[in-house]
Amino acid sequence: MSEIDQKKREYFKRLYTEDPAKHFVRVYGWLDTAKKRLKEIRLDDRRRSDFAKYFTFPGEYAIDVLLLAENGIIEKTNLGFPGVVYCERQPDIISIINKKLGKCRGVFADTFERTVWRSSFKSYCPFDIINLDLTREIFPLNGRSESNTIKAIEQLLWLHKNVGFDLYLTFKSSLKETNPMAVKEFEGLVEDNLKNNATLEDAFVKNCGSHVKELLKKDFTLFWCKSFPKWILEIGLTNNIAGSLLSEYVYLRKPRFGDPYNIITFLFSFERKSHGYMSKPKMVTKTQQEILKTFTISPFDVDKILEKNSKGKKKLADDARRISEMPPKVASM
């Protein structure tokens, strides 16, 4: 094997298993939010002793699953994780995940974009926590402007109408690698939307310091941070679920090959219907308030936080490594 290939492999392994920024988001973002969600689930008398039902793309090391299980958010048995459903396109990666996780509630050997449209997927819904860790652009350069990922997210929200759940969404923010047509379309959509609502437009300008177009040119990542949650919450509204953005995280990745790019993680929460029926106008008002809030929320700059705390950084990297090296799940005798 060439030296370059070996280095590339090691780089990717480090990226997934030892990246403190990524693990920071896992621990302080996903885990913290998941704990709250679990409390919420157990308020329901019928689910007093339930664990969260979890949908994810766990990747080779399935750190998120192992972390949540270790903290009692999702169920762990001798055989595996009966509350976890995952999808993965690459068969060899599936075999590694399978070995690691044992028996799960469901496995889809397909892309997320295709999985959500499958009738068998519906039978697993609703989930309590949906973790869409895309690790690529939401509008890939070689993809269509009408992103399949966006459509899949819409479908996912439709499948969860009238139920409460958390949505963790992560994707890559790189202007160079994003389909310009799609960005333009998305920008137009946001702009048109803001034009129809003076309050929202004012709030956007006030909090972002510029209009959509200017922001896009100035700071592509911030553009996503400010515009994407609005889009998600509005889709929620069309599906009768009032959502809110809990927090957003941004960190930089400097790949050995290619240009640096940012990773953005959004944590959304959608309220369940049993909290009381909310009339459509009420829901519209609430969503508008939440959208206004999203403009004021500044994303956590994970790199900055970790820069000041080298001890914590090391601890996070060690923890990620520890979890990634957990032995496979086997119930013997």
Partner: protein
């Protein structure tokens, strides 16, 4: 990544008709072939994941020697022409090589329409090849191909291997079965909505738990889902180890075989559950004591079976277990033959076509035979059944029949008192008879205690009833003050238990009332009082 030249998949024409007609009858049987392949390449761990519960994809990964792309290309070009056993008979770890025909890989054609093989043999390269089996599936295409070629090979498709870099020294093979056949998936997903049907074995703590749950269900595997059946059957047919206490609790019945299996160090893990042989006797609560409830006969055979060419060696070991009640689960009833540690089909309930009607006795026998040498030529292509006219098979049959029913000579010796050794069927009959007699005795004792109580309560004094195994002058006598003796061997007692009890009751009441009363009238009154109390 390096894209290599496309490779044509060729299958020996002589076997294509057999393969295409569906030789692997159950889901487990097809997967068994892949496990056997892993065993043959000295893997110590095989992880199988069924993609439970939607069964979208099956993955089988092992840590065996792996293959180079050249090896794989060769296999695919010569399906049905394996040279594994020609080169050597045992693997580097000393395991007997299972594969003989080289058709194992096509077992997957009954599970999926496409499969991917990724493998590395430690030379710093790994290859990936996806094989589309849809062409192979099409009946018309098959017919056409069969018509084209009578001998040699038939091309059933092509694939494109890709070569990638891999860490040097890393050896593994990953097979993923994609596009699972709908029928196969539905079968595994099916949970019958019928009364008395258990849903599934939910989260067993380990394999022992799994086995116990199935063994305690009266109808055995029939009560469980197809998924549970898949796990159970895979455990049965694969060269996995026994449970620590298996196959017979508290007995060392096949120590040599157990030791060999332990030394192979071969683990099969399916959906997080490590498989062991699901054979553990006795798990029935009413079968506890060796020698009166259950027992076993060790089987050992090592002879040359003579034929027109001189003869060939047949060697096998094993055991025949039997108990006085029917064996549960029913799937363990019969005889299972393993060749090179792999089960050939499942338990043969006909006891290798035992010629006489064995009736319920056949349900009380379970045996395993490990064939070390011979019998392989009797195997049909599906590796699930035998050619019954094969001389080795006939020899195995004879040995088993002899163990089950004994030979004429043995019977003669027993009659003459030279031998006391009983064959299995006679032992089962004896156990059942002993048990029945014991149960009758206990019931009779209970009845005697009941009569004792009635007499004591009516006469307001303590009476005891004694049963002696003698003929006596009378069937019942008051032998001592307040002691009634029943002479059990007296000819007056009817043979039927119910009638005997009535007789006993009446005679005891008569004797007692006459014994304690001074006048005939008083005796009559006491007799009626006793009858009245003992009416129930």
């Amino acid at each position: 990544m390096q894209k290599l030249k496309p490779v044509y998949i060729n299958v020996a024409a002589s076997i294509i008709a057999d393969i295409s007609s569906g030789i692997y009858r159950t889901p487990a049987n097809a997967l068994k072939e892949l496990i056997s392949n892993s065993f043959d390449v000295d893997a110590t761990e095989v992880y199988i994941n069924t993609g439970y519960s939607n069964f979208d994809i099956f993955t089988i990964s092992d840590n065996g020697r792996g293959m180079s792309v050249e090896d794989f290309t060769y296999y695919m070009k010569h399906i049905g022409g394996s040279t594994k056993r020609v080169e050597k008979d045992v693997t580097d770890l000393g395991r007997p090589i299972i594969g003989k025909l080289g058709i194992g890989i096509l077992a997957v054609s009954q599970i999926c329409k496409e499969f991917t093989v990724i493998s590395s043999n430690g030379d710093g390269k790994k290859f990936e090849a996806t094989i589309d089996l849809s062409e192979f599936e099409e009946i018309e295409a098959r017919k056409k191909q069969l018509g084209e070629r009578k001998g040699g090979t038939v091309t059933i498709g092509e694939f494109q291997p890709f070569l990638y870099d891999e860490e040097r020294g890393k050896r593994y093979t990953v097979i993923t079965l994609n596009k699972i056949n709908d029928g196969y998936r539905v079968t595994l997903q099916r949970e019958f909505n019928l009364p008395r049907l258990k849903k599934r074995v939910a989260n067993p703590k380990g394999f022992l738990d799994f086995v116990k749950e199935i063994a305690t269900a009266k109808r055995g595997l029939a009560q469980f889902t197809e998924y549970d059946r898949l796990i159970w059957e895979l455990a049965l047919v694969s060269p996995a180890k026994y449970l620590e206490e298996g196959p017979i609790i508290g007995e060392t019945c096949i120590p040599e075989i157990k030791r060999k299996l332990d030394n192979y160090n071969f683990r099969v893990i399916i959906d997080g559950l490590e498989l062991r042989k699901p054979i553990l006797f006795p798990l029935d609560e009413k079968v506890r004591k060796k020698g009166s409830d259950f027992s076993f006969v060790p089987v050992s055979y090592d002879k040359t079976v003579k034929d027109s060419l001189g003869g060939s060696r047949l060697k096998f070991n094993g055991y025949i277990y039997f108990q006085r009640r029917a064996i549960v689960p029913p799937e363990l009833r019969g005889v299972l033959i393993r060749i090179r540690n792999v089960a050939i089909g499942y338990y043969d309930k006909s006891l290798l076509h035992y010629p006489l009607p064995a009736g319920p006795l056949a349900n009380q026998v379970s045996g395993e035979l490990y064939v070390e040498e011979g019998l392989e030529n009797a195997l049909n292509i599906d590796r699930n059944s035998f050619r019954e006219t094969d001389l080795h098979f006939i020899a195995v049959q004879s040995k088993i029949f002899e163990i089950l029913a004994g030979s004429k000579m043995e019977a003669r010796e027993r009659r003459r008192g030279v031998s006391e050794q009983l064959p299995v069927f006679d032992m089962i009959r004896l156990y059942s008879r002993q048990r029945r007699d014991e149960e009758t005795r206990l019931e009779e004792m209970d009845y005697v205690r009941y009569l004792e109580k009635i007499v004591s309560q009516t006469l307001r004094t303590t009476f005891s009833i004694k049963v002696v195994n003698e003929q006596g002058r009378q069937p019942v006598e008051i032998t001592d003050t307040n002691t009634i003796t029943i002479f059990d061997k007296n000819q007056l007692w009817p043979r039927k238990r119910r009638e005997r009890n009535v007789f006993r009751k009446l005679l005891i009441f008569k004797e007692v009332s006459e014994g304690v009363s001074e006048s005939r009238e008083a005796a009559r009154s006491t007799f009626l009082q006793l009858l009245n109390r003992g009416r129930k």
